[in-house]
Structures are given as structure tokens and as C-alpha cells.
Symmetry: C2
Subunit: 364 residues, 2 copies
């Protein structure tokens, strides 16, 4: 009577996700995720959207990011604890779930720590394709932490960036990034400060992690025609850009209600004009309009990107036969008889600890 | 440099949860969960609370229920799809996570389908202990579906109920409940309709699952001194009680902002007075005040109850050595070097598919 196949939850571990990237290659993986993200943003109205639900504490934040279309539901669990590295832990850890909207059954539980870095970089590229000058080759990368390699390689492989100008307040972070990029075709220039890094860049990616209202980038550092890919400012009280940067160009966002709360946009008045990315992707709104324009992608990370990444992971895992079954949901013989799962030999023989007593009686 | 022990996520499967109940016994398990729930409700102000986040679709709803105190964060994923049984699937499926607030690391991923039934029944008893007449022995059980055995046995073992008066629109559901209660000390009376079942009952538990504005219970069915334990009406458009029932007595709720949206309370004006359960448990508000009073617990299920249940599960799993490690979060040697997890033999040897080219260059 029960249908265990409808209830087959697959688990994709942290190791499985690494193995998927190894088998498909990093560039094709980024490309595959970017394709899913673009496809899903283009059918924006089909999604039931909400700003993520955040639980803030002294040292960080834990968030849930749900979204659904008519067929699939997904959510991501993700934290942000800037001081975690002192304990030997990642700053950002994440996992997520895909479920079937028609039944509510979870079909995939997956690591999303590595995948968050991949999907964030892929999203940056999806936006940049419509917002950078076509001749862009040089990118400044301000903040050289855990996500920086992914941004660097996504812009290299998917957008043709050949030169990086790097800066981080922590020289060890930059040294790590340089080491990790050795063996790629990227030309890497280590800079002494943000202004230095930004000089001559076609694209400026900001990727800093401190939970403070920082202003690492000012309008007077910018040159006409630059695209700002602002990725690090992503929760209330955590910004990277001076208001002057947002005023210097046209500002593009993922999901306006969330970015007003979490993005660099949080410092601007509520009527400050922005354009949602999906409108550019569908052609409803213009991307870059002339070569001298400054464009700003105020990226905070939206649930739709994880939905797309989980779709990609599910397809790739299936293709490679990776992942394993997870006994997450009980499958009683009769779905109306949950109590029967406690029975050793059928529903009657339950595990009640009180001994049967003679006055037991059934009356019609 | 990394601390994998801080990142040890344990997985408690559906089978593990059954095994825990078998080893500890059902009554002690219900009792242990009830103790955790009462302890946590009594420290109500310590929790960061929010109404759950629901995604509604044609056939059902998928919800996320997060909550945190200063130390621990939890959330539950739960669906409600009344027509699922036609596909051989449970109506309600759930799982949940406990995490460390200080680091954001998930420490437990657990089944919560069986556990939701246990914690719902335990919560009903925690409320009933303060709201029923002390001489209560007879409970009417309207709706004999998947959760009914748990309510029946919780009230039997933890509150001394010895007689059940059963009614369900589906006689097969009642027959299943009767079978599952065979071998217990409960006296069971199968009734022909709701009015018949309610007659002579000290407690009336309503546990119906249809996603409709139903009114299965009217004030003219009630007798002085009865306690109404209304469990089935738990989302917008899903009610069980006539407004006259809520007006007939004092109404108690778990978390007022959520119950105003989801509970039978949704049909009442916004200023209709209710008392939150935690206030009764701490003594700030009175429970039952005299033997003839009618009391109503308009229960919708609150995140705190899952937090408590997860605490109990974690402790019990540890005590019995059940559960297994889950490779959910990557543990890079250097937590600042997430990209290093992609390396086969250290961070340098990454999986980039484009071949190295001669113009690679590092500049200081």
C-alpha cells in the first residue's frame, strides 16, 4: 500500500559534491549551474518567493532560504560566523533540500557549503554577462577569502577575464588565492590597497566578510564603464560600498524586498531606484546601456540560486550515480498507520510498556 | 588547523527513532519529551521566536519552523498533504536539525515524522495538566488518523485517562485505532458521531486533517467543565471548532502571533482574548479556575516543541549510542581555504579543466 519509491530521499555528501566537480570539471560545473540559474531567473513569476528568515546572535547569523515553483520546493540552511576561522571552522556552512511540491516528500538532502561558493560565482557571472563592457578583461578582487577562487575562475572561464588585481587586508589570504590560482591561465597582480586594485579594472568584485558597516569602495576610486560586483555585503549591518558608489551608476539586485534589508542598498532611501536581475535576463529591462556607464550588482544571494544549484546537483548526481539513500522519512506499510512503525510484528504488537489489564473493552 | 569534532553532524534515521522508542518505551519517551517541552516553555523569554514560514500549494503546505535560544538553534521541515494517503504516502512528513548558535555548525539531523506525533501528544498533555479537572478519566477522540494513538496513549499514561470515546468519518480509521490500542489498559468506545463521542467526556481532543474551514464541534455539544484539546486546525483555512466553542470558555495558545493566523483563533476578531501556555506554566497566568469552566487549548504546533523534542532525541541517541556521522559539511584542512577541498593532493592541484598556459604570471 505504501510507495517507498516516492519517498526515496537521496543524500549528497560534502565528499560527493567535490567528486562531482572533479568528474565534470570546475568550468563545466560553473557553466551548468549558471545555466540553471539563468533559466530559473527567466521564469521568475513562477516562483513563490520570500525574504530569507534570519536568526541573529552575537557571533553570527543562521538563515533559512525557502522557495518553490509549482513542481519543486527547496530551502537552504546557511550560517555566517566571521570569527569561526579562529576555531578552525568555515565562516559559511550550508546544506539544502529539494522536495516535491505535490506530496511534500524530500527528494534530495545535499551539502551546500562548496555549492554556495559555486552558485554565488555563477550568479555573479549571469549578471555580469548583461552588465559588463564586452571587452572586459581585468577584474579587481577585493577580499581574497574562501569564495575568491570561485569568483576568479568563474569570471575567467565563463566571461574571458584574463587578469586579476588582488587586495585583502590579510596578506595571507591573498597569498593563498595566488597559490590556488597557480596553474591556471590567469595573470595575477597583488595590490597594496583597494584603490590600487581598482585602478584599470573593468570589473570590481568585493568579497569581504566582516559583519560591519564598512565602506571599502568609494565613488572617487571608480572609472567610467566599470562594473561593480558587490558580493560581500549581505545582511543587516554588513555593507561594503559607500552610498556614493550606488549613486554613481545603475543598481541591479536579485530580489528587491530582500536586498533593501540586506544589501548595500540598506543604506539608501526606500525609493532609491533598482532593477531586478530577472527583468534584464528576460529583456524587460535594459542591462548596460553605454560603454561609460557604471553598473552595480548588489548581490546578497537569493534562495532561487540555491534552488537552481540543487537542480543541477540532482541531475549531475544522477548522471554519475553518486549519493546514497537516506532513511529520513518512515515508510509505514499503511500510511494512515504511523503508529504501526513502532510495532515489531505488525500494528498490534506495539511497544507500550504498561502491561495489558483485564478491563480492556471494545464497544461498538 | 581545522576542528572536525566541532563539525560532527549526527544523523538519526527514521529507524533509529523507532529503536529509541522501543528501547526506552513509549510512555517514558512521551514523558521525557513532555519534560523537555515544559522546561523550555518555562524559559519562554530566552527564545528568539517567529511564526513558521509556509509555502502553500494546491495539494498542501510545506513549512519551516525555526527557533533559537542563546545556545542552540533548531528548525523543522514539515509538510501537510491531506490527499497523500491516496498515493501511499503519509499526510505529514518531517525532519529537523539542531545547530550550535555560537558557530552555526549543525550537530544533529533527525527524522521528525514519528517525533512530531510524539511531541504533539506530549504538548497536549503539558497543557492539559493545568487545564483539565483533576478527576478527568474519559476522553473523546474526534479524528482517528495517524496521530490518534499518540494522543490516546499520552493522555492514558501521563494523565490517567482510562476511557476513550472514538469517532471518525472514516470507520476504517477508527478500526485501525482500536486495533492499535488492543493490549493496552484503555477502555475504548466507538461512537456514531461527534455529539455522541463528546457526551460524557472530560476531555475532547479534535484531530481531523482536512484542509477546510470545518466546524466539527459546536458549543451546544459541550458540557460544563470539559477541556477541549484542539489539535487538527493548524493552518490558514483549516479549522475544526465553531466560534461558539472558543467563546464558551477560556482559550489557551502556544504562540499568539502564529495561532492568530493558523489556529481555530483565525476566525475570531484580533482582540479576542487568549492566554499563552508558557504564562500558565510559569504561574504568571491561571490555568483552570473552577470545575465548571470550559477550557480550550487551540494547539497548532510551535517550533519550540520541536526544539525540545530534538533535545530529547539528541540526549537519548547519545545514551543508546544510536545514529551515525553525516558528511554534511566539508572540513578543509584550512577553513579559509574552501577551494582546497577540490584539490586532489593539496590546494595547488585543483581540478580546473583548462590547461595551464605559458603567460601565467604573479606580480607583487
Amino acid at each position: 500500500m505504501s510507495h517507498p519509491t516516492l519517498l526515496a530521499t537521496r543524500f549528497l555528501s560534502a565528499r560527493d559534491a567535490v567528486e562531482l566537480v572533479r568528474r565534470d570539471g570546475l568550468a563545466p560545473t560553473l557553466s551548468g549551474i549558471a545555466r540553471c540559474i539563468e533559466d530559473d531567473f527567466r521564469r521568475w513569476p513562477a516562483f513563490d518567493k520570500a525574504a530569507r528568515v534570519a536568526s541573529h546572535s552575537r557571533d553570527g547569523v543562521i538563515e533559512l532560504m525557502p522557495i518553490a515553483d509549482g513542481q519543486r520546493y527547496s530551502f537552504k540552511y546557511v550560517n555566517g560566523h566571521p570569527r569561526n576561522t579562529r576555531l578552525g571552522l568555515p565562516t559559511v556552512m550550508a546544506f539544502g533540500v529539494l522536495a516535491d511540491v505535490a506530496t511534500g516528500a524530500p527528494t534530495l538532502v545535499s551539502e551546500l557549503t562548496l555549492t554556495t561558493a559555486l552558485r554565488t560565482a555563477a550568479t555573479s557571472v549571469v549578471a555580469a554577462r548583461r552588465l559588463v563592457r564586452p571587452d572586459s578583461r581585468v577584474m579587481a578582487l577585493i577580499g581574497n577569502g574562501a569564495q575568491s577562487e570561485f569568483q576568479a575562475l568563474a569570471f575567467h572561464h565563463l566571461l574571458g577575464i584574463d587578469t586579476l588585481r588582488l587586495y585583502d587586508v590579510d596578506p595571507q589570504a591573498t597569498a593563498k588565492l595566488v597559490r590556488n590560482l597557480a596553474g591556471t591561465a590567469l595573470r595575477v597582480v597583488v595590490c597594496q590597497n583597494t584603490a590600487d586594485a581598482v585602478r584599470g579594472a573593468d570589473i570590481v568584485t568585493t568579497l569581504t566578510a566582516d559583519k560591519t558597516n564598512a565602506t571599502i569602495l568609494h565613488a572617487d576610486m571608480l572609472a567610467p564603464g566599470q562594473h561593480i560586483n558587490a558580493v560581500g555585503g549581505d545582511c543587516p549591518g554588513k555593507t561594503e560600498l559607500a552610498a556614493s558608489v550606488l549613486r554613481a551608476g545603475r543598481v541591479f539586485v536579485e530580489y528587491e524586498p530582500q536586498t533593501r534589508i540586506e544589501g548595500d542598498l540598506q543604506q539608501m532611501p526606500p525609493d532609491f531606484a533598482v532593477t531586478e536581475l530577472w527583468q534584464v535576463l528576460t529583456g524587460e529591462a535594459a542591462g548596460r546601456q553605454h560603454p561609460d556607464e557604471i553598473t552595480v550588482f548588489d548581490s546578497v544571494g537569493f534562495a532561487l540560486e540555491d534552488f537552481s544549484a540543487l537542480r543541477h546537483l540532482q541531475e549531475a548526481a544522477q548522471r554519475h550515480g553518486l549519493g546514497q539513500p537516506l532513511d529520513l522519512i518512515p515508510t509505514p506499510k499503511d500510511p494512515k498507520n504511523l503508529f504501526g512503525t513502532l510495532a515489531a510484528d505488525g500494528p498490534g504488537a506495539c511497544c507500550v510498556t504498561v502491561a495489558p489489564q483485564p478491563e480492556t473493552q471494545h464497544a461498538a
